[in-house]
Amino acid sequence: MGPKFSNVQQTTHAHPRTNFSQLMDTNSLREAALQASWQRDHQVARRRTIWRWAMFWGWKYGRKFGIALVPVAIICYLATPLWLAMFSPNVVSKQIVAVPANSTVLVSPPVAKARGLQESEDETGMILVPALTLGTASDHRLKVLQAEPSGQQQNSSNQRLRATSNIQTSPKESSP
């Protein structure tokens, strides 16, 4: 007969013994549940706090500048169709090309290509505007390359280069 340990209490377990691995899973489950709840808390609390701040500032300064905001709102309401019309696809788009003084440098327009313009690209892929590439500018000139999809001519007091489908331009220069 083996040694007798009097301090050992033998009890019957009503529930099966829990394995250590199950405890680890329980802890992981607890942590996962907490993390999910923190994620939810962060979303809700942040939205609610931002809304409360917006209500606070709106109430504090809306009463002061509320009357001044009415004409601003009216102007924005009236200007919205005009603003949208400016950026509609049918409107003429403009490209501004700056030509330095006394330069014979080959000047290429900016990256955006004029819509409806028959392009002639050189080997490097730049768009060449013949009127700009030849000759020497005696002074600074700001030339506007206007692209017209429909090929219509437009007269303007500004300095412009008119590009047609044949790319034959006759620059219309006028001193600013």
Binding site: R30, E31, A33, L34, Q35, S37, W38, Q39, R40, D41, H42, Q43, V44, A45, R46, R48, T49, R52, W53, F56
Partner: protein, 137 residues
């Protein structure tokens, strides 16, 4: 979306105590009854609780942003409120009320307290510590 592995930013309530919370009332759940223990545990309420929560010693109570506790008396060492509480709050050490919290009732604390400017409180806030001790420091 990055999973948040830390609780909400706290200034007074230790983060490890919030991480050690072992009891959770999930969002959408309704618990009608009281929660009481004499051990230093923690409880987080994301659902609805209609009853009291009391810790005889220690204790951490976290009312989540979606949590609603009604007709209650909360008593613990550390209390962190992000949701709605209707009742009495007694914090023996630290009480922290965030900007998303709503408290309809009285709150008292023994040591430190932090209230966010956008917190909504309708009630009395009382410092139960030694008023003379704070003046001596």
């Amino acid at each position: 979306m990055k999973i948040r592995t830390e609780p909400s930013t706290t200034r007074l309530v230790p983060t490890d105590r919030l991480s050690a919370i072992s009891s959770l009332i999930a969002e959408g759940a309704v618990f009608d009854g009281s929660f009481q223990t004499s051990r230093d545990l923690g409880i987080k309420v994301d659902g609805t609780l209609k009853g009291n929560i009391s810790f005889d010693i220690g204790g951490t109570i976290h009312i989540g942003a979606t949590g609603v506790v009604e007709n209650t008396r909360l008593e613990a060492d550390y209390i962190f409120i992000e949701g709605k509480v209707v009742g009495t709050v007694v914090a023996r050490k630290a009480l922290e009320i965030t900007g998303s919290a709503t408290l309809l009732g009285d709150a008292s604390y023994d040591e430190v307290m932090d209230v966010h400017p956008r917190a909504r409180i309708r009630g009395k806030i009382e410092y139960r510590g030694d008023m003379d001790a704070s003046n001596r420091n």
